[in-house]
Amino acid sequence: MERVPVAETGNDAPVAALRLHVRLTTDPLDPEEVRRRVADTTVGASVVMVGTTRAVSDGVETVALDYEAHGALAERVLSAIVAAAAADHGLVGAAVEHRLGRVPVGVASIVVATAAAHRRQAFAAAEWIVDEVKRRVPIWKCDEAPDGTRTWIHPGTLHAAPEQGGRG
């Protein structure tokens, strides 16, 4: 979803359209570039959350995570999530970029950016977006151990109702 141009109101007073953006990519992520996609001159606070591959998870060493996704479904659910976050928290903009493929330790796998007039909305929305991505976006990580062992991570049970592609 690309940035939407400025819209006009019925009173001819210009209002900034929501700046929403999602992307799945095998390229390295650039947090500042993602932040610029959501912020404009009306913004008083931008929050950028960068998720990176940890060296140790639950006591087990990792050298890299390998991500894959159901691309079309993931992009549609991500778009619904950022739109819902923007509406519920009064944001100026919201964005998610998620890396696919092999992501070594210390490298970013996800960037979430939110922008609002005030910081509280931006912080709250960023946390909600990350939670929703982890809960219902069809992206999976495969843990790669130092000895080359690969393990797909499938926590819990996915109860994705059909309407969850939309708001919520």
Binding site: L73, K134, R136, P138, H154, G156
Partner: protein, 102 residues
Amino acid sequence: MDRSIQPAEPLAAAAATEDVPPGTVVVELFAGMAELVGCRRVSLAWGGGDVAALRGALARACPAAAPLLERSAVAIGDRYAAEDQTVDVGHVVAVIPPVSGG
């Protein structure tokens, strides 16, 4: 990666094309589910039914995948599907195991 588990008889590896053979549905598999079945797309002979019926047919065809299948959602096209949603011949269905993005 364990590739020793092969699809059972009713499953056949589907060609990497959007063409769906007559009388079948194509099922896309991801992550640990693809690893269990041993391929990323399978075609399944299909006489009609809903998502729950398709789930049962998949479990019978590939018992090794049944436990993860029980914990998975199903999508038709780019939308999550309800258990009572009809799956038509020609549909492309995806099994969505529990997610772990972020």
